[in-house]
Amino acid sequence: MGAVPEFAGERYAAETYSPLVDLTLRLGDDALVLSQRLMEWVASAPVLEEDVAIANIALDLLGQGRMLISYAGSIMSPPKSEDELAYLRQAREFRSSHLVEIPRGDFAQTMARQLVFSTYQSLLYAELTHSTDATIAAIAAKASKEVRYHLDHATQWVLRLGDGTDESHERMQAGLDVVWPYVDELFDADSGVEVYDGPQTDEKLRPLIDAGVCPDFGALREPCIDQLTAVIETATLTVPQTKWHARGGRRGVHTSDLDFLLAEMQSVHRAYPGATW
């Protein structure tokens, strides 16, 4: 194919990441980007307790993201610091899913996303706790304890809003409808087939799956959907039907929402390069 196009976004193009770096960045970028999205609620949540709760969840995710991104940086060649990776990569270089980058919407939509992500994260991290990679196992063991609280928080809200007033029910359902097309990407290899035909195992992660570093993400889909379905139905809501599925985040193809999010998140570091305090 000849020379690779020379633009900054290609510096971390998929083929230059080792499988382990790729995996660690997927996990870390999901946590970092969702943390940034959640922080938008600080000082704007419906009640003070929620302001505090969402800030705490964002802080947990930020901590998890920092540990994972630091680890990814340490095994890159040459090594990169967490700040370089968080503040100096462009959207094209992020490995996060589309689920975490879409706008926060109203409170119900935020809780719909939290329910999906926390359920996914609790199942995934329970598996990663047994990872043959000691660092990933340690981070997952720590994060798992925190995610239980995040999942509980989101579940309580989905139940309360779904089985609440006509308006809260309607808005909770609308929130679920918005996030549902983004669910499958969490389990999808996205290895480049044109026609989407359900999640596939990621060939890039195959060596890691074989070595017991991470589970086959596709295998987590069914238990995750089952668990989500149970909560959604208890909340008197309906599991949405969707005709399309988001794809591309794991290979660095994002919506423009991520560009705006990064512009805000990275603005200080870019304005004052190398600043410390």
Binding site: N56, I57, L59, D60, I139, A141, E146, D152, T155
Partner: protein, 198 residues
């Protein structure tokens, strides 16, 4: 980074950055741990540092102080700590406090190691720590697991003000990562509960 740091270190008699400023002014050897006095062990010195977000509790009573090791020549101390929560913002402050305490005690080099495994649990809070929490108006973690799955398990948390068990959770997330917000139905006072984490 290392080049700049070293240049500045060479220029300054007190060193630079996180390096210990204490003993190199006249080129004498650093004090050994013995210089602390016969009664103060390095562990006790580290244990003297408090959690900045819960000042009633030392890092030893909180269970985040895992090990204190002194090198054979007595000049270097390695302190191992572990975070309560992944995003705990107090870790940096605790690290700085440890550096200060050991530097003032005469150690040439202070290494603070942050480890993740095994993951911290509220089971590591000492009996003295539990008592200190209650005394400062924070209900200590209860004996059973707080969250077993997607749905909360009801728990009796004792009000640290009036001692009654008729309390209710206002939010699972409180003033810091490690606390939840409760209210006592008897004395009507709100209070923090130190969340059980296992």
């Amino acid at each position: 980074m290392s080049t700049t740091t070293r240049d500045l270190e060479d220029l300054s008699p007190f060193g630079y950055g996180d390096r210990s400023p204490a003993n190199d002014i006249d080129g004498t050897d650093p004090k050994s741990a013995v210089a602390l006095g016969p009664d103060v062990t390095p562990w006790e010195l580290a244990a003297d540092v408090n959690d900045p977000e819960i000042p009633a509790l030392s890092i030893a009573d909180l269970g985040i102080l895992r090990a204190v090791e002194v090198s054979d020549d007595g000049g270097t101390v390695t302190v191992t700590i572990t975070p309560t929560y992944s995003g705990c913002p107090a870790m940096k402050a605790i690290e700085h406090d440890l550096r200060r305490v050991f530097t003032e005690a005469g150690y040439r080099e202070v290494v603070v190691d942050v480890v993740l495994a095994p993951a911290w649990t509220t089971d590591w809070i000492t009996p003295r720590g539990l008592a200190a929490l209650e005394e400062s108006g924070i209900a200590p973690p209860t004996g059973t697991r707080a969250v077993a799955g997607p749905v909360s398990v009801g728990l009796s948390v004792r009000c640290p003000h009036c001692g009654d068990f008729d309390t209710e959770v206002l939010s699972q997330f409180g003033s810091t990562s490690c606390k939840a917000l409760y209210r006592c139905n008897t004395c009507r006072e709100p209070f923090d509960w130190f969340k059980t984490l296992r």
